[in-house]
Symmetry: C2
């Protein structure tokens, strides 16, 4: 299945407008709660536990997006977080057909508490590859967007990464000097070797002084947790975060962000270290793998290409992190 560049650019313009309109609905619904008339959003459904909440806004915004897409592009497939989650299967549904992959509200916990780090995420996928991405965080006044061959943009005016001509390489002693983005997530089991234990050990390694943690101390410049996988990816594409490492997301959390990151020049591969982290081939991430390690765009230094400094950083992260256990049927 192929789509001509001219048609792709039309779809891009449609997606940007859709992101603006959907974000406006999110903000309007948030503002309705400011005056106290709806201070605790009613009717949310508990999915897994108290951390995992679905709001009515989620469903309404997804229905809005789906109706717009179905009308404009009736032949395209549509996968949304809400419609998917109501199904029985957890199969990976993306094939070679043109497919929209949507999260109507990423950062649901932030949204419920009115912390500004929430957004709508709209990805468009052809032949299994995200080629258009639109992320709109309306309470931050930030719109991130990209289309294959057209660059990645903040607010349609500032090219990403923000620092260019040249974009700096990753630091020579990365992960030292890097801003490391990670999320505590929803899996809070305290059993030995639970994902929470593996994550905390990994975060601790990345943060600790050089020489600490039995040689795994990474002395990153800062550790950040925003509570939105989608915005984490957007800030890696922007160049603000150097490294994002996470497990447990779904394709609608990352489709738009991967499109934007790739178009900006970033690298994304698996979070889980291979048996030979120092030498293994660094493969393109599988969209449905639920395991992601993203590295910001990078330019060359005197003795490395940008890609070489990204790959070096991937290996240094792999050396410090644990395997995470997030499986799905059929993958």
């Amino acid at each position: 299945m192929s789509i001509k560049q001219e048609e792709l650019e039309e779809i891009y313009a449609f997606a940007v407008q859709l992101g603006k309109d959907a974000g406006a609905i999110l903000l309007e619904r948030a503002q309705e709660r400011f005056d106290g008339s709806k201070q605790a959003e009613q009717g949310h459904i508990e999915k897994v536990n108290a951390v995992d909440l679905v709001t009515q806004t989620d469903e309404d915004v997804e229905a809005f997006i789906k109706s717009k897409i179905t009308k404009q592009y009736p032949s395209h497939k549509f996968i949304g977080e809400e419609t998917y989650s109501r199904g029985v299967s957890r199969d990976y549904l993306i094939d070679d057909e043109p497919t929209w992959c949507i999260d109507p509200l990423d950062g649901t916990v932030n949204y419920m508490h009115l912390f500004p780090m929430f957004c709508v995420s709209i990805g468009f996928i052809v032949n299994g590859k995200p080629v258009i991405g639109v992320i709109h965080a309306p309470f931050l006044n930030q719109l991130f967007s990209s289309c294959s061959g057209k660059g990645a943009w903040l607010n349609e005016s500032q090219k990403m990464p923000l620092t260019r001509n040249p974009t700096p390489p990753l630091p020579p002693n990365a992960p030292s000097g890097c801003v490391f983005s990670c999320e505590w997530g929803k899996d809070r089991r305290d059993q030995p070797d639970s994902n929470l234990h593996r994550k905390v050990e990994s975060f601790f390694n990345m943060a600790s002084e050089i020489g600490g943690r039995e040689g795994k101390g990474g002395m990153v410049h800062g550790v950040r947790s925003l509570g939105s996988a989608t915005l984490d990816l957007a800030y890696v594409a922007m160049g603000a975060f150097d490294i994002w490492w996470e497990g447990g997301c779904w394709e609608w959390d990352v489709a738009a962000g991967i499109a934007i990151l790739k178009e900006a020049g970033g690298l994304i591969t698996t979070a889980n270290p291979p048996a030979d982290p120092a030498t293994a081939a660094i493969e393109e991430v599988k969209l449905g793998s639920r395991l992601y390690l993203a590295i910001r765009p990078a330019g060359p230094s005197a003795n490395e290409t940008g890609r070489q400094s990204q790959e070096r950083t991937v290996r240094e992260v792999w050396r410090r992190v644990r395997h995470l256990d997030y499986s799905r049927p059929g993958v």
Copy 2:
């Protein structure tokens, strides 16, 4: 020393304008780096280690703020991060005189990486109490401000906390249901019982499932780390974060945020649990203590006042966190 309300409101208007102007300089300097002409800020000085950087912008913005204040209010005292840090003493310098307490750039690491969570922080203190606060995060388009008796505001138009009439109480099973804000900080020593070890253990307790961590599991709704103590406090005042727990900040990091939080109806006390966390009196924080636990504004429920739900939450946090070790001379 007392200041009449009318004079205080004049000082407030001056402080808001100063925050707007200083924030505009920060953003302008950041944008100069977008085009690549200054992509790595030159001339930064290493203070303690690679994490602790001072930029030229820091010093220039502090000089700008100090010159404006000295001209307008020559009798007022001035304490700024940069002027203080160049001195030898680490004494606490705030007394009963009218004093400006300034951080020209909080979130320095974020600023260097162009992550939007950076701000200027301007506090005005009388009789040792912060009475005016202005925090401007120009890349987020967010200005937080307050003056005793005049309320706390986002962008001068939205009263804080954002959720009011009524503001909800803290959750009945807090910290479960709460957004917990914390920072990894600059002290990354890996020795047993280092601050980093104590912090990670505390974060882990707060995040873990109920029943986990030998009964200390708090199952908070989310864990967030922004890399700016000042913005952490602003978001607690807004009601977006329920709990902020941190050690190691200085008074210029928190003076403006404490003014805003208090005016919004929040509570702030010490991060370090007393010997009897279940029954100890909950005392107002000492501005120079370097140990802070902030709880968002809260309204009453059927069986508690807002203050009671805040104090209950303080005790539940104290039960789950370790003592931190940040000392200073004379305190």
